[in-house]
């Protein structure tokens, strides 16, 4: 591939739009590794992560023009990947009952973490968030999901996502001032 290494991701997308498979390969070499890892960190285990990775790059191949041209290409790829993951997870969830007891642990875990606040810096503030609140921050702020998509990924009602988001913001604000 050689010289392809000097082409930007945006340039690769243009080439993919013209049907250049080598460009897709190059984009895959650049982005597949982190995408696979990050999918695994979002609950995609074993072959599921690989299936989502495959779905994602096939989507890139079919619709490279859906990249708006703003922001890093990696963020756009992640947006496709996380949504494909949600689709796949929902299909497997449809076959099994909702994880039991998840909602019940929320309050106690949060209370526990709220009591343990002792840092003033951002990293510490984030770390002090309960896992439930942090998951909401991660899904909305970092993964760029809408409230509804985050609700699907986390398997909680959309209203719960909103209240947790508010609580997380309030908690962060309090700790950083």
């Amino acid at each position: 591939m050689g010289p392809a290494g000097t082409i930007t991701d945006e340039g690769l997308l243009v080439a993919i739009g013209e049907g250049d498979r080598d460009a897709l390969r190059e984009l895959y070499d650049r982005h597949a590794a982190w995408l696979l890892l990050r999918l695994r960190r979002r609950g995609a285990d074993g072959t599921l992560a690989e299936e989502v990775l495959q779905d994602t790059f096939l989507a890139v191949w079919r619709k490279p023009q859906s990249y708006s041209g703003t922001g890093p290409v990696a963020a756009w790829i992640w947006g496709i990947g996380i949504r494909r993951l949600i689709d796949r997870l929902r299909r497997t969830w449809a076959l099994q009952p909702l994880a039991r007891g998840r909602e019940e642990t929320v309050v106690s875990a949060e209370d526990e973490v709220l009591l343990g606040v002792e840092f003033g810096d951002l990293a510490g503030a984030l770390a002090s968030l309960s896992p439930e609140l942090r998951a909401v921050i991660q899904a909305t702020v970092l993964d760029g999901l809408t409230t509804r998509e985050a609700a699907r990924l986390l398997r909680i009602p959309a209203g719960t996502v909103k209240t947790r988001m508010m609580r997380a913001r309030a908690q962060l604000r309090e700790e950083l001032t």
Partner: protein
């Protein structure tokens, strides 16, 4: 960007042994940093990535399924059955257009002349018959060679395709019948003869080659209709020719043909009588 994720932190991210805040920070950085991404790619799980790329390439090489195949898949038909149906020559657009053209002509004739009804009712049953004949055979079926070697029963393929061709052609003929001068029982009088000639041709295909069987059945049908019309002593009415007696007769023929087909289905395995 001047700051990069320390190698040691990347390793911990890869293994999953990392606290949530650092994970957030690394993920946010990776989206924007080419350098750290390639650092991660350098130590990545090659086999998983290679496997997935092969799957992607295979997907890219596969031809996109056509309209028929996609709609069959949407209705829950298994993918190999959908492919078999979609490969049927007599479900091509050109074929269906030809069927539509013949039907249009037949309807025009039926609207124009008093005896035109007989023409329509004589032609309509032959269209699925021709479609089924064209669905098989070395000269016409592009998958014929593949079919001989395929681990699928020839009889099953025959039934799948026959049903698909019958369904599509009958649908076209039914639409055409709506344009007949009068919407009475005559508009549907071709349906039973249609099933009868198809069943007879399939049954006959267990004895002689399918093309010959089709030609014989079609010729017999046309001669029979012609004779009946002539015997109706000049009164060229569809009622006299396609009336109750004839409908009962074709049902009997269809049932007999069905039994013959069932008893002799082994003879229809591909490669025989060709």
């Amino acid at each position: 960007m001047t700051w990069h994720v320390p190698v040691e932190a990347l390793r911990r991210y890869e293994s999953g042994a990392i606290d949530a805040t650092q994970q957030l920070s690394i993920e946010a950085h990776l989206v924007a940093c080419d350098f750290c991404r390639s650092a991660l790619a350098g130590s990545a799980n090659r086999s998983a990535l290679g496997r997935t790329w092969q799957a992607i390439e295979a997907e890219l090489a596969a031809p996109a399924p056509g309209v028929i195949e996609r709609s069959l898949l949407a209705f829950g038909v298994s993918d190999h059955s959908a492919r078999l149906v979609a490969a049927t020559p007599s479900l091509r657009r050109s074929w269906l257009l030809a069927i539509a053209a013949v039907l249009t002509l037949a309807v025009l004739v039926a609207n124009g002349a008093e005896g035109g009804y007989i023409f329509f009712l004589a032609i309509a049953p032959l269209l699925p018959l021709a479609g089924i004949a064209a669905a098989f055979g070395p000269g016409i079926d592009p998958t014929y060679e593949i079919g001989i070697a395929a681990p699928i029963r020839g009889f099953r393929l025959l039934l799948i395709r026959s049903v698909a061709v019958l369904a599509s052609t009958i649908a076209l003929a039914a639409v055409a019948a709506l344009f007949l001068p009068a919407l009475d029982w005559r508009a549907g009088a071709w349906l039973l003869p249609c099933l009868a000639v198809v069943a007879t041709a399939l049954a006959l295909s267990t004895i002689v080659n399918p093309l010959r069987a089709t030609v014989w059945v079609a010729a017999t049908w046309l001669v029979g209709v012609g004779a009946a019309t002539w015997a109706a002593t000049g009164e060229a009415s569809a009622r006299a020719v396609f009336g109750q007696q004839m409908q009962v007769a074709v049902v009997v023929v269809a049932i007999v043909a069905g039994f013959v087909l069932r008893a002799r289905r082994e003879e229809l395995e591909r490669g025989e009588h060709r």
